[in-house]
């Protein structure tokens, strides 16, 4: 019993270690500092979106529009800088806000018209992508260099004391913040309650609709923020970027212990899940393996992670 509980908490971390050691055994580059930094950098976009997705999945929903919102967010930030000449910090907020609006739209349709999240977000996957392209005229919007570009750049020699770039720090800060809110606030516990048993939550007077609206809006905001990171990474708003990224984000949450039937999931786990996928990709690329190897390995890891999760639960219940 005790042992399983332990595994319950640190299972994903263990998996990360295993995967990492596996690739490190093949290629010593994996253990260098620049490799670590690069891997963290490449995780940030998926991880930030996964923070929001974790909330959605804990509440028993799903958000297929995450990838589109990321692209939309990046376009909005770039347009704010280029077309409206807004200062970068305002532009950044506009991007996050735009993402939040998209999330709010999802939440609105889910709670008011009471549609299944899968369908609503399938619809907004197309809709928001269309908007992103429409706004950008189907072309990338070059934002030029601002301090936003530094969010996800390798640290210059003089600033190595920061260890990792500011974007990654932001990700960690937000993860800790949201994990704390999820654990220590009323709304946090309510999100778990809704995912665990929505009917009950409603009967106990939890404002289910309001909570879901918040969850989807926050998830949208996080995807918007991930869009800002994408734009910082590419120095341009990319209306056709991040296609299909929602599947990576969902996979990260699931590998990290989230359950698609709701009530379970952890921010910490989701970050680890995102890390695992980056390690696999980087590991394969450092070995010069073709992209298809990466895909096969990732696919197998997803299925294995969930299988182990199942076994763990079966044991917990006995």
């Amino acid at each position: 019993m005790k042992n399983w509980n332990w595994l319950n908490k640190f299972g994903p971390l263990l998996a990360l270690l295993l995967v990492y050691l596996f690739f490190a055994a093949f290629n010593s580059k994996m253990t260098t500092l620049p490799a670590m930094e690069a891997m963290i950098l490449q995780t940030v976009i998926v991880a930030i979106s996964a923070i929001g997705m974790t909330l959605v999945i804990i509440s028993g929903g799903i958000d297929l529009s995450a990838g589109s919102i990321i692209a939309f967010g990046s376009v909005v930030v770039a347009l704010c800088i280029v077309t409206f000449n807004l200062p970068p910090v305002v532009a950044a907020f506009c991007g996050v806000f735009a993402g939040m609006l998209c999330g709010f739209l999802n939440g609105f349709l889910i709670t008011r018209i009471k549609l299944v999240p899968f369908i609503v977000t399938l619809g907004s996957l197309l809709l928001v992508r269309g908007l992103a392209k429409g706004f950008a005229g189907s072309m990338p919007v070059n934002a030029g260099e601002t301090w936003l570009s530094e969010l996800l750049a390798t640290l210059p020699a003089g600033q190595k004391w920061q260890l990792i770039p500011p974007g990654a720090w932001l990700m960690i800060f937000l993860a800790v913040l949201v994990a704390g809110l999820l654990r220590y606030t009323k709304i946090g516990r309510h999100i778990f309650a809704i995912g665990s048993n929505e009917q009950t939550a409603r009967l106990c007077g939890v404002a289910v609709e309001r909570a879901k609206l918040i969850v989807y809006s926050v998830a949208g905001a996080f995807s918007g923020l991930a869009g800002l990171m994408l734009m910082s990474y590419q120095e341009q708003g990319d209306p056709t970027g991040a296609v299909g990224l929602e599947l990576d984000v969902i996979a990260a949450v699931v590998i990290g212990g989230g359950s698609l039937s709701g009530g379970e999931g952890s921010i910490f786990g989701s970050l680890i899940g995102a890390m695992i996928m980056t390690v696999i990709r980087t590991g394969c690329q450092l070995n010069g393996w073709a992209p298809w190897v990466t895909q096969i390995v990732t696919g197998i890891v997803i299925v294995m992670a969930v299988t182990v999760d199942r076994l763990r639960h079966r044991n917990n219940h006995q």
């Binding site: 580059k29 260098t32 500092l33 620049p34 490799a35 690069a38 950098l41 490449q42 392209k133 189907s138 072309m139 990338p140 070059n142 996800l152 750049a153 390798t154 210059p156 020699a157 994408l230 990474y233 590419q234 120095e235 341009q236 990319d238 209306p239 056709t240 970027g241 991040a242 296609v243 990709r281 980087t282 690329q285 450092l286 010069g288 073709a290 992209p291």
Partner: protein, 310 residues
């Protein structure tokens, strides 16, 4: 041939719409349209690897009863059938940018850069910069992509002439988006750092705009921009800027504006029963920082896209 009132309508179908390269083609096509008094319809798939969507686009333009199609096929084989189909239905097709295998008898004309030559130029120039010795990596674009495939081939075969140059990696693909190109580039850079963190590669070649941009971003992120000889392909504003800052040492530049212009013009000539050449080369040149401000390069590098696209 066809008796229809009103001006001719010509569809221009690029491989994608998101790169600056296609925007130049668009502008060139529009210019031709205005000068020749024909309608130009610009329709394209968003991703360069979406062959199925491009086939549908061609089919639908035939249904749309346009007078001719100017097409940049995203695959040398997959687009053959729809092109034949169009011609069978009486809609002539002019191929631009990248070739169509075994179908010279079908299309009206092929208007493009000599991509093989583009790759060779890049190889010679990079070798010259490295004084004929060093380690080189090349980042490819997409599996099965005709035009960049030719560049890759030309580049590699020309390098055979330099025995002291070693190609350390030519097997990675940037993929369809800039973000994927950037990630692939970053991991390439990582792979070629030695124990001390020194970069062990002397020269880099990227085969198109998105890979060049991805590599540039990766170099910047690794603070390596300007410390390694870097030759790219195509002349997007962002790449020219980087070249001014010495982050890129040279670019192989095609003339997409001309390609778009000649594509439409050839189609119109063909419709009017004029004799057209089967193969029209739009030229390819190598430029460095010094060339950017030369007056004779201005029209070439900075065609007035805004003017035509308004």
């Amino acid at each position: 041939k066809k008796m229809k009132e009103g001006p001719l309508t010509i569809s221009v179908i690029p491989k994608g719409t998101t790169h600056a390269f296609w925007q130049s083609i668009h502008a060139g096509a529009v210019k031709a349209g205005k000068e020749l008094g024909v309608n130009v319809l610009w329709v394209g798939p968003e991703r360069e690897d979406n062959r199925q969507q491009q086939i549908m686009l061609v089919d639908n333009q035939v249904v749309n009863q346009v007078d001719a199609i100017v097409l940049a096929p995203s695959d040398a084989v997959a687009l053959r059938r729809p092109v034949k189909n169009a011609v069978r239905r009486g809609v002539p097709v002019v191929i631009i940018d990248s070739g169509l295998e075994n179908s010279a008898e079908v299309y009206a004309s092929f208007v493009a850069t000599d991509n093989l030559k583009g790759g060779e130029i890049a190889a010679d120039q990079l070798a010259k910069m490295l004084h004929g010795r060093g380690r080189i990596i090349m980042l490819r674009l997409l599996e099965g992509h005709a035009s960049t495939g030719k560049r890759e081939k030309g580049f590699l075969s020309a390098l055979q002439r330099y025995p002291e140059i070693e190609i350390t990696s030519a097997e990675q693909y940037g993929g369809a988006t800039k973000a994927s190109a950037q990630t692939a580039a970053e991991n390439l850079l990582l792979r070629f750092r030695d124990g001390q963190g020194n970069f062990t590669v002397d020269g880099i070649f990227c085969v198109n705009e998105s890979t060049t941009y991805g590599m540039l971003q990766a170099l910047r992120r690794h603070r390596l921009a300007g410390q390694v000889k870097f030759v790219g392909f195509d002349a997007a504003a962002s790449l020219l800027d980087a070249m001014k800052k010495d982050e890129i040492d040279g670019l192989v530049v095609q003339d997409p504006f001309k390609m778009g212009f000649l594509g439409v013009k050839t189609a119109v000539d063909f419709l009017n029963g004029k004799q057209v050449q089967k193969r029209i080369d739009t030229g390819v040149v190598f430029i460095t920082k010094a060339d950017i401000d030369k007056p004779e390069m201005q029209d070439f590098l900075f065609p007035d896209i805004e003017k035509w696209l308004q």
